[in-house]
Symmetry: C2
Subunit: 297 residues, 2 copies
Amino acid sequence: MKTFYPKDLSTLEFYGLLQGAVAPRPIAFVSSVDSDGNVNLSPFSFFNLFSSQPPVLIFSPLRRMRDNTTKHTLENVLEVPEVVIHIVHFGMVEQMSLASTEYEKGVNEFDKAGFTQIKSEQVRPPRIKEAQVAFECRVNEVKPLGENGGAGNLVICEVLVAHVNEEVFDESGKIDPRKLDAVARLGGDWYCRASGASLFQIPKPLRNLGIGIDQLPEDVRNSIILNGNNLGRLGNVAAFPTDAQIAEFGRSAEIQEMRIRFQNDPDSLIDHLHLLAKEALDEDDVDRAWLILLQRT
Amino acid sequence: MKTFYPKDLSTLEFYGLLQGAVAPRPIAFVSSVDSDGNVNLSPFSFFNLFSSQPPVLIFSPLRRMRDNTTKHTLENVLEVPEVVIHIVHFGMVEQMSLASTEYEKGVNEFDKAGFTQIKSEQVRPPRIKEAQVAFECRVNEVKPLGENGGAGNLVICEVLVAHVNEEVFDESGKIDPRKLDAVARLGGDWYCRASGASLFQIPKPLRNLGIGIDQLPEDVRNSIILNGNNLGRLGNVAAFPTDAQIAEFGRSAEIQEMRIRFQNDPDSLIDHLHLLAKEALDEDDVDRAWLILLQRT
């Protein structure tokens, strides 16, 4: 491991390290207005959801590192404490990137980036017609985290209304990430598209407490075949199968054949049981994996 | 669009909507200790980077919706205001999920989830040997966002030391997202792996101000062939090519042939120019795309 102390790097270097490491970051595409009603639209990836009741989203415009000036969005929310926060999907990501251009105050990035402005219900800033998700928010507080270039400013936003495109819901009424097709930000020029093979599911851990990796049999815990993800899944069971279940599974042809083949080589028997269990885990069949692993004796 | 007001949904329903929409979220895998030194390790996806100077990370443990109790991590940071925040990579995601099990106070999730504890330099909570990135942090403030079930608590952490595995850097010393292989959280049981084809790059917008989509020629802006991402890229140029460059490109064989083929059908000429420009944009060749598009007259 390489160790870095903030004081040993320039602000820009440490910023690069943080941005590369804390990833992927969701993107708030924020519309705001100044007291004259001039509209601004700008993306921020120092952003997330932080509370459900009250529903709170926070994003952070940084003071610029080159000259310690502030962004129009920050100036606007100090004048008019209201925003619309949109979630960015893949189909609009290049337009979003264009909107991050530092146009002069008064230039409306809706026009520059080719989005359609529609009136919000509860707040003055307009929302983006083309977005899949828009949250109309009241800004409850702006909390500066420092005074110099690179300092963040927490814009603490309470959601008043959420607008979501019907097309991103599944049949049960939940947002389907494959339909949302959201993008996120990483370091440098990198983005990530949450879609296709990049999406996967892990069942929530058991309410009735998984046994944990510390309770796995020693041969399983020290396996050269099973990896950390396999062990994590194996530790998330409430109990082992019963002796009767293990014995019954042991009478299957595949186990009987394996026992005969490796009758004089117990180490190879264990390795082959682990390989077979790994296949079961790759198919999300944890019960079968355990029945296989417990054939070792 | 479907419109949702927080008051019309149960806390749990609105939570589901927010979690599904604000995505993908980076994961803070947080180790903490209580005043007796008992270690806790737990993941939080209400988390991000918020400031570079000072370097600030924030995560938010919610008050439980079912009974308004708080999590061990929150109790610990109120006793000992120090944490280590690790970034989760794909190779450890199932172990991380297991660590999110609600084990009793005093159970060390390092053991349950099979991680190796190593001593931190500047803070009392230990760090995970198997993590690619670990930030030792002082907790500057804990800011509650509400008092009821579902309320977040901002744990505002200042980075004192960063530990990063050498293997995730590229040759220029920057973190390579393909090597980091970070995972993020979405709604329900969904995760996203930032790797392979899900990663893509967009050059930063021009410092000298892109012309913007509002300045594109009308046929380009209203094209039925070019999409929003194509227009976004076309708007991010400082100027059009010169008349001389356009004329020279017009003498190429492919343009000459196209002109002859569609000499009596100007609409088809435009569509075919747009198709050819789209190919150039798909290869990130914006200069060539512009030379093609400006052949229309």
